[in-house]
Symmetry: C2
């Protein structure tokens, strides 16, 4: 065959391939998928419908919701390192087996066990007023007498940087950072104590990270920087932050007494793995996950009882429906997410050699309100495939694209593993987050069941596709 | 004059009067006002504009708002019978004088002084869980050991009535009445303890009277019936009421331990009267009012710091503007409204002989959000006049008609005195009401100033009209 003819053939072939491709769009980017794949994805329409139907219209979804409610009501808050968390893990383990799925196992993880003890704050000047505080884990303690010091109210790290150390020294810094987005404002919760300490503060308080307050304090984790004097730190309400701001603006001296006592040690907890073993590529994994631990305030119903439960339900319900995907579908109930993704980091370390087997990783940890679609991290190709799959779920077909998604699974995204988290109508998520208001009252049965149905059907398709989700 | 001619003259006269009347409408009712009066009311347009302008556009409104904020921040909660309430009354008295109005006086009133002490509740069965409670004043105490008893969750008084006494006896009744309107649902707060006690309950708890909760308990007053064994009573959150409802629905036994300690005695407090003495009929009164006391939780910024302040401001600002109405315009800062209109009842009793002099009585005690108009009680004629006056304030011209309005002033309406309360965009009022969330954060400066401007201009016109507001 002469060279010219060969080139001619290649050009014709390329042209055929090109003309065969389908172009679909997401977020104004062009997707070019192999038409065979598009056809394959479309062929899942009936199975997606069936899974959704079984969960939504039979008693299955309602039963799942009742089991979820029972779980939250029985255990309530499930802080890392506590006995109640381990009981909750046992419960989910046994529940999996009762549902006929024996491929459930746990993996030990050493986790922090920070226990809130006594916490109280009193404004002494300009007037006596109790200030509700909620320690940020794992804060250090005050002395037994507490800390009595003058307050300086500061809007931002930029403002802190500009203030002379002598002014901060010996004071309680109140970070009065107004909520813009969780991603931005949470910096004050995570790093506030360290930044204040570097300037010589004796304690730091943050305006609770929420867009709305009914005098509601919100806890969360914080991290002391290296070589920084660890100072006690807690959240206060918007209302008290605003009050202190006004006092300061009037030139009044504000003095608080803060007493805090908590304990810290390490315990063994467990990640829970529920496998629906793949029928063709059992070593290949699609992971769907949520975290089983919660903060000590509230009941951990929303964060992340809902996400954990609908993720756990994926292999359980598919097994009931006798649907075995090509790859292994693994639900993981992460332990100890709240102190800093401890369970997920342990899993990543333990399974480092198998990371290439993880085809896709999903998490629901931003609410189980009305489902809207997915937030996707991964290569353009990965996103195109997910966008094509989402077409099966209209109107649950919104797609957001992020560099990394979810909470626990961000560390997997950072390893190049594509993934997605559940987009849902969670406008009020941070009203409840890490507060006493995180209870079953947040949840709406119909919406949680819709989330579960979408999550199960989507997971099935992703884990059953003939091709792996391509990495970058 | 013969009879026929006399009848002819009367018919002609009636026709003239009829043809002279103007018909305006409110709430689909016909108003027939003397055209002279309509013209007179219309002639107040410029003065209404001027008063509004001075408050809204000069620094006056902002100064008032700053003084209001200062007051709330300085005193915080001002419960009936407390020293801080008396200090707050002194402050308003002195502030009035500082503003150049010397016609301010106080009248002693014996008031209840209920002081919340120690309050705690723990669920013991089916699991250990702290239950946030907020005693309803003036609840009696538990014994030192507290009450440990089984719970029965009941939706309504109707349901209670149907249940055999033997089932209620010795139990803690949880009234899980879902919020419909404050007027309806508050019956459970006011009468729940007595109704439960009549059936042999040892304590009663109510689902907090609010349409929305972030695990927020709401206090309020309750009243023991005569010849009823007084039992301890408190509010719980929606979240815990729902939890106990679910436990009961599962057939689980719920046991709570409740400990409550508070004290009760009587003190002397004061109603504060600020008079702008009338230029023609100084003995005739138009009263504009709000209450200065508050519950012990929150800061009493909304209930009723805002309403009290804008009412107090009416004679103060009109005096500054050198506007002296025909009748005396009296601002009253009621004391001890929260325990049951104690200040208002004392005023009514003391001034019983002068009730016929009260031409109109106004109150703002349902928020100072965006002003919308008035809720009016009184004769059809009274309402027609008010509707005509409201035309000067478009778009603040909505009118609602009620049998009695406000809180303190209802007892005056019941004596036949026409009155009005401030209609405002208070959709979220009960989210904050009687809770820790009643702080300055609820308020919006612009709206409060608008309320103050409207309230002052309206009060001026009502107290200056050539005719009295007619009674029924």
């Amino acid at each position: 065959m002469d060279k010219v003819f060969l080139i001619f053939l290649i050009v014709i072939q390329l042209f055929c391939v090109y003309s065969y491709t389908t172009i679909n769009r997401y977020n104004n980017r062009e997707c070019t998928l192999n038409p065979g794949l598009v056809e394959e994805i479309a062929s899942y329409r009936n199975i997606a419908k069936r899974i959704m139907y079984e969960i939504l219209n039979n008693t299955m979804g309602e039963s799942m919701y009742n089991e979820y409610t029972y779980f939250i009501d029985k255990f309530g808050a499930r802080p890392s390192g506590t006995h109640v968390l381990e009981k909750a893990i046992d419960h989910m383990f046994n529940l999996t087996i009762r549902h006929g799925l024996k491929t459930v196992s746990t993996e030990d993880v050493q986790v922090p066990h920070w226990t809130r003890g006594y916490e109280t704050a009193m404004m002494i000047r300009p007037r006596i007023k109790p200030i509700t505080i909620l320690g940020l884990g794992p804060t250090v303690n005050t002395s037994n007498e507490g800390i009595t010091a003058e307050v300086i109210v500061i809007r931002s790290f930029e403002e802190l940087n500009k203030i002379d150390e002598n002014i901060i020294k010996g004071k309680i810094v109140v970070f009065d950072a107004h909520y813009s987005s969780y991603g931005e404002t949470v910096a004050y919760r995570v790093n506030g104590a360290s930044k204040a300490s570097e300037k010589g503060a004796v304690a730091s308080l943050i305006r609770s990270v929420t867009p709305f307050s009914l005098y509601t304090p919100h806890t969360g984790s914080q991290r002391y920087g290296e070589n920084v004097t660890k100072i006690p730190t807690a959240a206060i309400t918007h209302e008290d932050a605003d009050l202190m701001r006004r006092f300061q603006d009037q030139g009044l001296s504000i003095v608080l007494n803060i007493s805090m006592f908590s304990t810290f040690d390490l315990k063994i907890s467990r990640n829970t793995l529920v496998d629906l073993v793949g029928r063709e590529d059992p070593n290949k994994l699609v992971i769907v996950s949520g975290h089983i631990d919660s903060w000590d305030v509230g009941q951990g119903a929303m964060d992340d009882g809902g996400g954990m439960f609908i993720s756990w339900y994926v292999p359980v319900v598919l097994n009931k429906l006798k649907l075995k995907p090509r790859r292994t579908l693994r639900a993981i109930l992460w332990t100890s997410e709240e102190p800093g993704l401890v369970g997920a980091i342990a899993y990543l370390k333990k399974h480092k050699h198998e990371l290439s087997d993880i085809n896709f990783i999903m998490e629901s940890d931003e609410g189980t309100f009305k489902p809207l679609g997915l937030d996707v991290a991964g290569s353009d190709n990965a996103r195109c495939i997910v966008a094509e799959v989402l077409k099966l779920f209209t109107p649950i077909d919104k797609m957001k694209v992020s560099k990394s998604v979810g909470s626990d699974i961000t560390i997997f995204n950072n390893e190049g593993i594509p993934g997605a988290s559940l987009l849902n109508q969670n406008d009020r998520y941070f009203w409840y987050h890490h507060s006493n208001a995180d209870t079953m009252d947040v949840q709406n049965k119909e919406n949680v069941v819709e989330c579960a149905a979408f999550w199960a059907a989507l997971s099935y398709i992703i884990s059953d596709l003939s091709i792996d989700i391509p990495r970058i």
